[in-house]
């Protein structure tokens, strides 16, 4: 009964920050308490998740939310799979926070931050195990709001306030979409229970509607391309471990939502698989392209989250296609790639953000062009970042490669197989290749400008390595990346379990990954590669020769003393690529102003603004606000106007007494017809007798007691039928 462990972990995590809040401001015991309890919660939760993956999840428990009269939680392989990153990063981040956001330096914001950190983890865990739409919504909102408080931890900075505000709007939009989704779900299935409907029960219309809401509601959270606008700002301005958990785990809950609800809707048409594949490709390419244009370390990483979500969605799209076209092989590979990349991304993205945080902490800047040469000054951080970079570029022998490999195979098997699959591959494979190459370019740029070369500023030159509290979490994540990269077969069982869980509603059975692709060979070759490198090192007796090597200046085309300012900057490194894709990126250039006869020193710079937020939403928002302001003229403070409004609305409503078709009679035949006219007007829209009464008890019982499902069933009909026979005449509807 591992579910109990999960609930225990949720409780502990939720309460972890409370002592810190209650303790005095001067007392720094709170941070230790919260960190320790978070780690305990993480361990317990991970054990529980492992149990769930091994199939010991047990039966769903009733966790009743009295106000909505129901609620249950359950632990199946899919939930367990997503619980792993939640608890892993939740624990590691808490430890990292001890070094990165210590109580001594942030006495006020620190306490709030630790409290909401616990709430965030608890909320995510809750929504992942929820088996009842309202519980899901509860966990979702707890997560969303605590994430808001975490993002605005540095509320005194205008940028972080702005980012938090945009995040709050977007998350509210997604919540409203979920309101609609759940209301419809409740309406067609008759209950809030998240149990799969039997195939062919919902009409195409309802399925499509649900999928649209799923895409909007969960896509916003996941940061799929057109809906990603909140993501870069929020992730860049949050404290780094918050950025880590947000882009490593929080956005995955969006993916989880899509997966879970697609599991509940067994017959999702092929078109949706294709659409999701396209969306994935779009956000993959655009995400990495916009990342290329950034100079802000953390903004760049944030855009890479968009890219990776794109890759995950591509896998999911392939899986959906496979499920709809009944090709178990695609399902295995696509879904396997999707899930494995979820894990991988939640390993290497937090790793990268931890490193970024360490860099920020010691240099105090996020601008890459003000850094450089840090590999000499903080070697461990640099090494960790190096591993993370190799992993996120999907290069062997690390974990990123394995998931992308699975995805490639899924797409290529499609290409080899059917015409439809070939089309999918036509979109997917080159896109994936492009994404890989661009990501490589991007991370070489980051490595080069931040960690390699010579320091560009004094602050970078003075950098020192960060404390162990921050290095240990990085080390754990590095180990994770390496483990999955070298021994992918070790996690195959988890993928198989989750895939089977996803396919349950359709009744199909999943083929194990290991039977589809030779995972063993991958680990073999990874080892071989490492062996080659090690062999060459050994043959060259690398340590001695390097220590013995003569040192000199870098060759700089004959300059006697090359200067750090002569190095290639991040901007210039990516320049050519940005220009090749200028159609999408629209870089804003600010060339140097050469004014006088003897020009003063000047600077040139160029930046890439976000396509959606800065070019569409912001201007549109301003326009809308102006439009609204236009209406203020109706509220000019004159009592006369106000009374006039009363009169006007009175007369308008009076008109409804006499339907317009009767105006003629109204004017000309004075007496007599009146009554008949009106009563007929009354009759025309008379409700079916007793219709409201018939529904009344349902109003209360259905919403407040989990019982009398029978009463619900007669509402378990799709809209296409219902809309035709509404209980009340659909006036204004």
């Amino acid at each position: 009964m591992f579910l109990i462990l999960i609930l225990l972990a949720v409780a502990v995590a939720a309460l972890s920050g409370l002592p810190g809040i209650l303790l005095r401001r001067s007392d720094d015991g709170g941070e230790r308490i919260s960190a320790i309890s978070m780690v305990c919660a993480a361990c317990v939760g991970l054990v529980g998740a492992a149990g769930g993956l091994l199939g010991y999840g047990g039966k769903p428990l009733a966790l009743v939310w009295p106000a909505v009269g129901g609620g249950s939680v359950g632990l199946d392989a899919l939930s367990a799979f997503f619980l792993v990153p939640v608890f892993l990063i939740g624990g590691l981040g808490a430890v990292y926070g001890l070094g990165y956001w210590p109580h001594c330096r942030h006495p006020v914001s620190g306490r709030r931050l630790r409290f909401f950190w616990g709430m965030l983890v608890a909320g995510m865990a809750l929504l992942v195990v929820a088996r009842h739409a309202m519980i899901f919504l509860l966990g979702w909102e707890i997560m969303a709001l605590s994430a808001f408080f975490l993002v605005t931890a540095e509320g005194h900075r205008i940028a972080s306030r702005q980012a938090g505000w945009i995040y709050l709007i977007s998350t509210h939009v997604s919540v409203l979409a979920l309101f609609a989704l759940f209301a419809i779900w409740r309406h067609v299935t008759g209950s809030f229970a998240m149990t799969p409907v039997a195939p062919q029960t919902l009409g195409q219309g309802v399925t499509a509607l649900c999928m649209v809401l799923v895409l909007v509601g969960f896509g916003l959270k996941a940061g799929v391309m057109p809906l990603h606008f909140w993501l870069p700002g929020a992730h860049a301005n949050a404290p780094s471990h918050v950025s880590a958990i947000m882009s490593g785990v929080v956005i995955k809950t969006g993916v989880y939502g899509m997966i879970r609800w697609s599991a509940l809707l067994p017959d999702v048409p092929v078109a949706w698989g294709a659409l999701i594949l396209l969306l994935g490709a779009l956000s993959g390419v655009l995400g990495v392209l916009f990342a290329l244009g950034q100079h802000d370390f953390k903004r760049l990483l944030a855009y890479h989250s968009v890219e990776n979500i794109g890759i995950i969605l591509m896998g999911f799209g392939v899986a959906l296609l496979g499920r709809a076209m009944n090709r178990p092989e695609w399902v295995t590979l696509g879904f396997g790639a999707c899930l494995l990349h979820v894990w991988n991304h939640s390993l290497f993205k937090p790793l990268l953000f931890f490193c970024a945080g360490a860099v920020m902490q010691v240099t105090g800047t996020r601008q890459m062009d003000r850094l450089g040469g840090l590999a000499k000054r903080m070697p461990w951080t640099a090494a960790a970042f190096f591993v993370g970079a190799v992993a996120i570029c999907g290069l062997p022998p690390l974990n990123g490669f394995v998931s992308e490999w699975l995805l490639y195979l899924g797409l290529l098997k499609g290409a080899v197989g059917t015409a439809g699959g070939a089309l999918a591959a036509l979109v997917g494979v080159p896109t994936l290749a492009l994404i890989g190459a661009l990501a490589l370019a991007c991370f070489v740029k980051v490595m080069g400008t931040v960690f390699l070369g010579a320091p560009r500023t004094q602050s970078a030159a003075d950098a020192r390595e960060v404390s162990r509290l921050e290095l240990v979490p990085m080390a754990v994540l590095v180990a994770g990346c390496a483990l999955i990269g070298v021994f992918p077969s070790a996690v195959a069982f988890a993928l198989d379990a989750a895939t089977g869980c996803w396919l349950q509603s359709t009744g199909a059975t999943a083929i194990p990954v290991a039977q589809t692709v030779p995972l063993g060979v991958i680990s073999l070759l990874a080892l071989l590669l490492l062996a080659c490198v090690a062999g060459i090192f050994w043959r060259m007796r690398i340590k001695e020769v390097v220590t013995a090597a003569r040192r000199s200046l870098s060759w700089d085309c004959g300059y006697a003393r090359p200067d750090a300012r002569m190095q290639y900057t991040a901007g210039s490194f990516a320049r050519t690529l940005v220009l090749i894709f200028r159609g999408v990126l629209r870089p804003a250039d600010h060339p140097p102003q050469v004014t006088k006869l003897f020009p003063v020193p000047t600077r040139a710079y160029s930046h890439v603004d976000d396509a959606v937020l800065d070019r569409v939403l912001m201007p549109a928002g301003r326009k809308v606000e102006e439009g609204f302001a236009w209406f203020h003229r109706f509220h000019r403070g004159l009592t006369q106007h106000y009374v006039l409004y009363v009169l006007v609305i009175l007369l308008i409503l009076m008109c409804t007494l006499f339907p317009f078709k009767n105006l003629f009679a109204f004017v000309f035949d004075r007496r007599g017809g009146g009554t008949s006219v009106c009563s007929s007007a009354g009759k025309q829209t008379l409700a079916p007798p007793g219709a409201p009464r018939a529904q009344m008890p349902y109003t209360y019982m259905a919403t407040l007691s989990p019982g009398n499902q029978a009463a619900h069933r007669n509402h378990g009909r799709p809209f296409t039928e219902r809309a035709g026979t509404p209980a009340l005449p659909t006036a204004y509807a």
């Binding site: 909505v68 609204f628 009592t639 106007h641 409804t656 407040l704 006036a731």
Partner: protein, 479 residues
């Protein structure tokens, strides 16, 4: 022996006492006493209901119970808050203020108790009259202007309501049963009522009592009055007066539904509801004055109530629950806004920022109240708004549901921008210097209200659920 007279008399007696007490310092303490007593009486009246005799003018039917509960709870918290508030405003003579507050209590109870539409009208009008001096408390030019607008627009509306009441009576008279305004008679003869008169009566009552509720476009007095009145008055207006007016509207709705006019009535209600929500959202975006923003939020929620009513049976439970939620949450918002106002000596976002630092408790409560009122789980309004949305879909009105969501979103954006400007950031130097600090009297009542709202959201207390369920069944005409 009905306990109705008690409800009406003892506040009046308290008012007389308040008139007699000379001390400006001790007089306000009458308010908590009266509030507590009233709450206790309400408790008794709710747990030990008297049989509903059809001939009694003063009786507590399920609808009345809900409203009485809201008013009593809200007044209880506001009275304690007011005691602290008036102590800090000792320079201002508060005799009239206290008297009017106490009369407010008795008239509001009268509205809840009266089963005779004429009497109910008298009570609502009385409510208007006793609240006017409350708005006028600060004696500034703006407060005069606000009171003036409140009186003029409100009186016009109330006059129309009277005309509507007459129409209703005449529709009964026309039907051949003697013209009566007893709710029970009207319900009994409902099917026979003359339709044209009934329709006209409903329109007039909708506009008339709608003016008191503050439905657009009759809401125009609202931002001014709420903006200029002391916050405790704002809370009572937006939580109490509106609920009473809504009760009057409920009666009209009840009779029309009993008369089988549900289709016609629902059409009007949906229209007015959406109109109000839309208007509120229009004026909320870019709103700089926090109290005016709260006023528009009140307009929006009146719209939600009317909309829920217009959705008919499927949404009734949600609607009546939302009456309670709205009343209590508005209390949270107005009272905490009052504290912020006192801390900054300003209610405009140009001066007010960083409330969470300057007045941590009030600032946090204000923000939580914002989250609650915009329907974030697990607060009460989430439940009721979600049920209303559910009702929209269940009654097959997809477009209404969609519009509802869109308007909620716009309102959230508009309101959130202002609220965040207020609670986040750094307080100005001037604001740090002011004397106000959060005290028990100024914080605890708000906290209590918020806890209530949270309680409704987390464990919808069974008694409350039963109460509302009775009301729904009553509206549906089932015994």
């Amino acid at each position: 022996m009905s306990m109705a007279p008690l409800f009406l008399i003892f506040p009046a007696v308290a008012a007389v006492l308040a008139a007699l007490i000379p001390s400006n310092r001790w007089r306000p303490w009458l308010l908590p006493v009266a509030g507590t007593l009233h709450a206790a009486l309400t408790g008794v009246a709710l747990v030990r209901p008297e049989p509903l005799s059809p001939t009694a003018w003063l009786a507590l039917d399920p609808l009345g119970k809900v409203i009485l509960l809201v008013v009593s709870l809200l007044f209880l918290c506001c009275s304690y808050y007011a005691a602290g508030y008036l102590r800090s405003r000792s320079e201002q003579p508060n005799r009239v203020f206290c008297i009017c507050l106490l009369f407010f209590l008795s008239t509001a109870s009268l509205v809840a108790w009266s089963r005779h539409l004429g009497l109910m009208w008298v009570a609502v009008e009385g409510l208007t009259l006793v609240t006017a001096p409350l708005i006028f408390f600060n004696h500034t030019q703006q407060s005069i202007e606000a009171t003036w607008k409140y009186m003029v627009v409100g009186s016009v509306g109330i006059a129309l309501a009277l005309l509507g009441t007459f129409f209703l009576a005449y529709s009964a008279q026309h039907a051949g049963h003697g013209a009566s305004l007893m709710v029970s008679d009207l319900l009994q003869h409902a099917p026979a009522l003359s339709k044209p008169w009934l329709h006209a009566a409903f329109v007039l009552l909708l506009v008339g009592y709608g003016t008191k509720m503050g439905l657009a476009p009759m809401h125009t007095w609202k931002p001014d009055a709420y903006g200029e009145a002391p916050c405790v008055v704002g809370a009572l207006l937006s939580g109490g007066v509106t609920s009473c007016a809504f009760l009057a509207l409920l009666r009209a709705y009840h009779i029309s539904v009993a008369a089988g006019e549900v289709a016609y009535v629902c059409r009007l209600l949906l229209f007015m509801g959406l109109l109000s929500m839309a208007t509120a959202s229009l004026f909320m975006v870019g709103q700089r004055d926090m109290k005016r923003m709260l006023a528009y939020s009140s307009v929006e929620h009146m719209g939600i109530l009317v909309l829920g009513l217009g959705l008919g049976a499927p949404a009734l439970f949600g609607t009546l629950l939302h009456v309670v939620n709205n009343g209590l949450t508005k209390g949270v918002l107005f009272l905490s806004a009052g504290n912020i106002h006192r801390a900054y000596h300003s209610k405009s976002t140009e001066q007010v920022s960083g409330a969470m630092q300057r007045v941590p408790l009030s600032g946090t409560l204000f923000f939580l109240g914002f989250l609650a009122i915009t329907g974030s789980p697990p607060f009460g309004p989430f439940i009721s708004e979600f049920l209303i949305l559910n009702g929209a879909f269940r009654s097959g009105r997809m477009v209404v549901g969609a519009l509802f969501l869109v308007l909620l979103l716009i309102v959230f954006i508009g309101m959130g921008a202002t609220v965040l400007k207020i609670v986040q950031g750094r307080p100005s130097i001037a604001a740090r210097k002011t004397s106000y600090r959060d005290t028990v009297l100024s914080g605890a009542p708000i906290l209590a209200l918020l806890v209530l709202v949270l309680l409704i959201g987390v464990i919808l207390p069974a008694p409350l659920a039963a109460l509302i369920n009775d009301a729904v069944r009553y509206l549906e005409g089932q015994p």
